[in-house]
């Protein structure tokens, strides 16, 4: 009994200690009075010298969301190709699970190793900010690609594509395939996916253009980025809308499931399907004629561009300010946009003629 009492006393003491610890630094900080003092770092500093040559021997490290992921392996290999071209040292490190906190320890390691450029795809826009700012203070240039951090935590964000670019591309692809007239439907991911909804809204805008006046969007279905559900939703669409001519599925899970359904159904080749998909998932459906063409950005080009942007930063060609220009090897010239964003360009279209050149 005395043991229990002592333990209880101990536990109470511990809890009190914990509470004190919790409120130690206090003075009543509420959301209202804290203001938005999240600390915006200075973005572009110093002047850019557009004529500066790219330095040789730059140490450029790629830190993807996770390693062992074919998408990032492809983009990092693109980066490696670029670093080799400019005679730099390439390195790829990263966590085996896509978590923000594990990226932090890798960023710390990279800054400790004195990297010139850290190219990363953020698992969380905020969580890695502190570490990136420390790395910046230690002299590294920070480029994000695929997934951005808060703008003040990096110098350049290489965006794969703009939402407008996707909407334009998807509507154009389906219009070409159905001959510019007829009913279409969209098979999306979840009903509250921010990306998807932004794209769908822009597609609706795009469809208002006169050249698409004969195309009618009849419904948006949600496959929840679940293979089974997307498969069933496709089936449902074709039963509910017998005059359906085409489906746009701007999600890799949805488009692959829809293609699988079409390929085994009477609608194969009659109802057209396009969307955003990966060549590896879509190859067999393009080859068997279920799908004519679909799109996605090329992750290898994304990594390639990010590496060049980092090298341009580290060589003083650009500072990340709006309007800075730099050349990214075979991809040509790019201009830094607002908030230090560089856009790779319109998505790459994959069809029978080129799909075998891509492995991701």
């Amino acid at each position: 009994m005395s043991t229990y009492r002592r333990l209880r006393a101990g536990a109470t003491a511990l809890t009190v200690a914990a509470l004190l610890l919790g409120s130690a630094a206090c003075g009543g900080t509420t959301r209202e009075n804290s203001g938005n003092d999240t600390g915006g770092g200075a973005q572009a500093s110093g002047a850019a010298n557009p004529d500066a040559k790219l330095k040789e021997g730059l140490k450029i490290a790629f830190l993807p969301k996770q390693v062992n992921n074919p998408y990032f392996t492809t983009s990092d290999n693109g980066g490696k190709a670029a670093v080799t071209e400019i005679k730099g040292e390439f390195k790829e490190v990263g966590p085996s699970e896509a978590s923000a906190s594990s990226q932090v320890s890798y960023i710390n390691t990279l800054s400790q190793q004195g990297m010139d450029v850290i190219v990363t795809s953020a698992n969380d826009p905020n969580a890695i900010c502190g570490a990136l700012n420390q790395a910046k203070a230690a002299g590294a240039k920070i480029v994000t690609f695929d997934s951005d951090t808060k703008p003040e935590c990096r110098q350049i964000f290489v965006n794969q594509v703009t939402a407008e670019g996707i909407a334009e591309n998807q509507v154009k692809l389906i219009s070409e395939q159905i001959g510019g007239a007829g009913e279409i439907a969209i098979l999306s991911a979840t009903a509250n996916a921010t990306n998807q909804n932004a794209w769908i809204a822009l597609m609706k805008e795009e469809l208002k253009k006169p050249e698409y006046s004969k195309i009618k969007l009849v419904t948006v279905a949600y496959g929840n980025d679940d293979d089974q559900k997307s498969f069933q939703e496709t089936q449902g669409l074709l039963q509910s809308y017998p005059n359906l001519k085409g489906i746009i599925s701007p999600t890799t899970v949805g488009v692959a499931a829809a293609a699988r359904y079409l390929s085994g159904s009477q609608y194969k080749g009659k109802v057209k399907l396009t969307g955003l998909g990966t060549p590896n998932q879509m190859r067999e459906f393009v080859k068997d004629g279920s799908v004519d063409a679909f799109a996605l950005w090329n992750p290898a080009d994304l990594g390639y561009l990010a590496a060049y942007a980092g090298a341009a930063l580290a060589s003083g060609q650009i500072t990340g300010a709006e309007g800075d220009k730099f050349t990214a090897g075979k991809l040509g010239e790019f201009t830094v946009g607002k908030d230090g964003v560089v856009v790779l360009g319109p998505p790459t279209v994959f069809d029978k003629s080129n799909i075998d050149q891509f492995q991701f």
Partner: protein, 353 residues
């Protein structure tokens, strides 16, 4: 192994020198593993300092220690729990759930952050109490219960915030948790960790409560007969574990300036690894806090050094897994061997008389 001796011990006073002798033997075994793990830590630090570039710098020490704070905190109550022969696998999910609750409260309740922190620790304690009720109240195995709450609490943390993150915590707070002690590169956050380690160490090694924990780990029933309130003690251990989980939730949220549902996913396995590496027997009744602190540091040093040496993530996972197996197999093999020798000696003694 050690269980049978207590079962067999007659309640009469005739055999009093035997438990004392057994304890001495245990202490000897503890001493050897503690020494071994501290020696391994020293060797690892020296090796890394000599062979890995950029390891032996103040900045790196800061990174290393900051990364270890959550692990070290969670390992303290886990040590006590494992000593009693139980386990708490829900700790990382408690961190995740308290982190998202902290985010949600900050986002929508209008309460002050100080009050939120207090609430979060209390909520952590309640989450631990839920574990405790199922384990001690209904007598269910802690492994099964906490695997259940591991999933349950993680699921709830996604209910609280979905796939969103809350990130607009005041910069003064987020900067405070990563600040270093002026003039050194040691993070301030290490101080409360050391204080708590001291408290847990004293409780485990220098109080009747601590002795009761070892007794429970060796044999629940015998401990009950010896007047220890097994169920209540274990219940409070789980409550403390939950409260510390809440504390780590606060630290995690502020350190990464991000409250989100997947915070600290998978950390429970690292915590268990550190505790076992520190020489605590998974069967209970054996181990000490010093070894666990050394185990935590050893794990951190290895990770940090391998990362600096550009060893890839898969190899890191393999190293952690192998360490876990070694730390379970080695002490048990040693104890088994010792027990066998002891038995043989006793048999020889008996036949001689």
């Amino acid at each position: 192994m050690a269980h049978d001796s207590l079962y067999a011990a007659p309640p009469s006073g005739a055999d009093t020198e035997r438990p004392a002798g057994r304890l001495a033997g245990l202490r000897g075994a503890l001493g050897t593993w503690d020494t071994a793990i501290v020696a391994a830590l020293v060797v690892a630090v020296l090796l890394a300092g000599l062979s890995v570039q950029n390891f032996a710098t103040g900045r790196n020490a800061q990174f290393l220690l900051l990364d270890l704070v959550p692990l070290a905190l969670l390992a303290l109550p886990m040590t006590l729990i494992v000593v009693t022969g139980e386990i708490d696998l829900s700790v990382a999910s408690v961190v995740g759930l308290t982190s998202t609750l902290m985010g949600q409260l900050w986002l929508s309740s209008g309460l002050s952050l100080e009050l939120i922190c207090v609430l979060v620790v209390l909520i952590g304690a309640v989450l631990g109490a839920v574990n405790g009720v199922f384990i001690t109240g209904f007598g269910l195995p802690s492994l099964a219960v906490t695997i259940g709450t591991l999933a349950l609490y993680r699921g709830l943390s996604f209910v609280v915030l979905g796939d969103q993150a809350v990130a607009d915590f005041p910069a003064s707070w987020t900067a405070a948790v990563v600040r270093t002690i002026p003039g050194t590169s040691i993070p301030v956050a290490v101080v409360p960790v050391l204080l708590l380690a001291l408290v847990f160490g004293v409780v485990l090694h220098a109080t009747p409560v601590g002795r009761a924990l070892y007794a429970m780990g060796n044999n629940d029933e015998a401990a009950t007969f010896a007047g220890v309130s097994v169920a209540r003690t274990k219940f409070w251990l789980f409550v403390v574990s939950g409260a510390v989980g809440g504390l780590v939730g606060i630290f995690w949220t502020l350190r990464y300036a991000s409250a989100r549902g997947d915070n600290a996913t998978g950390l429970e396995l690292t915590v268990v690894t550190a505790v076992l590496l520190g020489g605590v027997s998974i069967f209970g009744g054996r181990g000490g806090l010093l070894g666990v602190v050394a185990g935590v540091l050893l794990l951190g040093v290895l990770r940090n050094a391998l990362q600096l040496a550009d060893v890839d993530a898969n190899a890191l996972t393999i190293v952690t897994g192998s360490l876990l197996i070694v730390s379970v197999v080695l002490p048990n093999a040693a104890a088994d061997l010792r027990a066998r020798l002891h038995r043989r000696r006793r048999r020889a003694h008996l036949s001689a008389s």
